[in-house]
């Protein structure tokens, strides 16, 4: 199972890094964002390959009493919060775009 997790994190990580590189080349993404996503996903691949590093980091941070389970539980809650925020923002933007497009489409129609 651990090998599946490793392969999975490598494939996902490489997909994201190649996408961000392509977007950066097409000038659709800034240098800062390209570096941010590359470093973030490089760390995710590293942790996927060497999961024991997570335990060592927790110990180094003095959170060994907290435990890996609690750490991952908190991470999951945080990730779901981020997903909710992104969904909310995307939904609001989509509604605004829809209203604006429809208003523009109707602007020459006289009542």
């Amino acid at each position: 199972m651990i090998y599946v997790a490793k392969v999975f994190s490598i494939i996902l990580g490489l997909m994201v890094i190649s996408k961000t590189l392509l977007d950066f080349k097409k000038k659709q993404e800034s240098l800062i964002m390209f570096i941010f996503w590359t470093v973030t996903w490089a760390i995710i691949i590293y942790l996927g390959l060497f999961p024991a590093e997570i335990d060592k980091t927790i110990n180094r941070l003095g959170m060994n009493k907290t435990g890996t389970g609690t750490f991952f539980g908190m991470s999951l809650v945080f990730l779901f919060f981020v997903i909710y925020r992104v969904y909310h923002k995307a939904n609001r933007l989509e509604l605004k775009l829809k209203d604006m497009t429809m208003k523009l489409g109707l602007k020459d129609v006289k009542e």
Binding site: K98, T101, M102, L104, G105, L106, V109, K110, E111
Partner: protein, 231 residues
């Protein structure tokens, strides 16, 4: 009393068929004093908008592609603004026969009902098997969500009276608009009728329209619409 009819045609990348559809529209209809055609180009990348303009119809344009639902809503709103008494929607891919327009608007002219759904024949000789299966499934799912049965819930050919348009509130951007309309018929208790229409499936129109994956999308969005409408 003679009425004003608006024919609303939402179109996305339909340069191949739009001209043919527009040329085949009736010029005169019994009980109708004026016919206004409204084409809503939903952010096409081809010459759809130009073709609509060359044909001297009311050519509206979405600057970005929003989906067939949004294009239909824009067309219905334009029809309301120009004070149409009856509005009929039809697809730009040539799937609907304009010769059916007269029989669809007749019950509205006679004030028998406020909405008429053009119901396609689900016979395998008329429709590809995958479309028959998909449409039957969508009818069932629409019934499960909105508790209103329609023999062709996904038909793009529908006629509306002015009062029906004032009652229904539509929000869908995609194909789920067809199911949403069925939901609105139920919510507003609107009198409606289903009339058989001709089904024209060319190689071109077979490639257009909905697929199975769209069906899942429609179901999810219809559920959201249903939940949002609960007071």
């Amino acid at each position: 009393m003679s009425m004003k009819l608006a024919i609303v045609i939402p179109a996305y990348n339909e340069e191949e068929t739009l001209g043919i559809v527009l040329n085949s529209l009736p010029k005169k209809l019994k009980g109708i004093r004026e016919i206004k055609t409204i084409v809503v180009d939903d952010g096409s990348k081809d010459r759809t908008h130009e073709i609509a303009r060359w044909n001297q119809v009311m050519a509206l344009k979405h600057i970005v592609n929003l989906g067939v639902g949004a294009a239909t809503i824009t067309g219905l709103e334009a029809a309301r603004k120009i004070n149409s008494d009856i509005v009929i929607t039809l697809d730009a891919d040539g799937q609907h026969s304009p010769s059916n327009i007269e029989k669809l608007i007749e019950p509205i002219i006679k004030k028998e009902v406020d909405i008429v759904i053009g119901s396609r024949d689900y016979k395998i000789k008329n429709m590809p098997v995958v479309k028959v299966f998909g449409n039957l499934m969508m009818n069932t799912l629409t019934y499960m969500v909105f508790r209103k049965w329609s023999a062709d819930s996904q038909s793009g050919m529908k006629a509306f009276s002015k009062s029906a348009l004032e009652k229904i509130k539509l929000h869908s951007t995609g194909y789920e608009i067809c199911s949403e309309i069925i939901g609105e018929i139920k919510r507003n208790n609107i009198q409606y009728k289903e009339i058989k229409i001709d089904t024209i499936y060319t190689d071109y129109s077979k490639l257009r329209g909905q697929n199975i994956l769209n069906g899942i999308n429609i179901l999810t969005k219809s559920l959201f619409i249903k939940i949002a409408s609960i007071k």
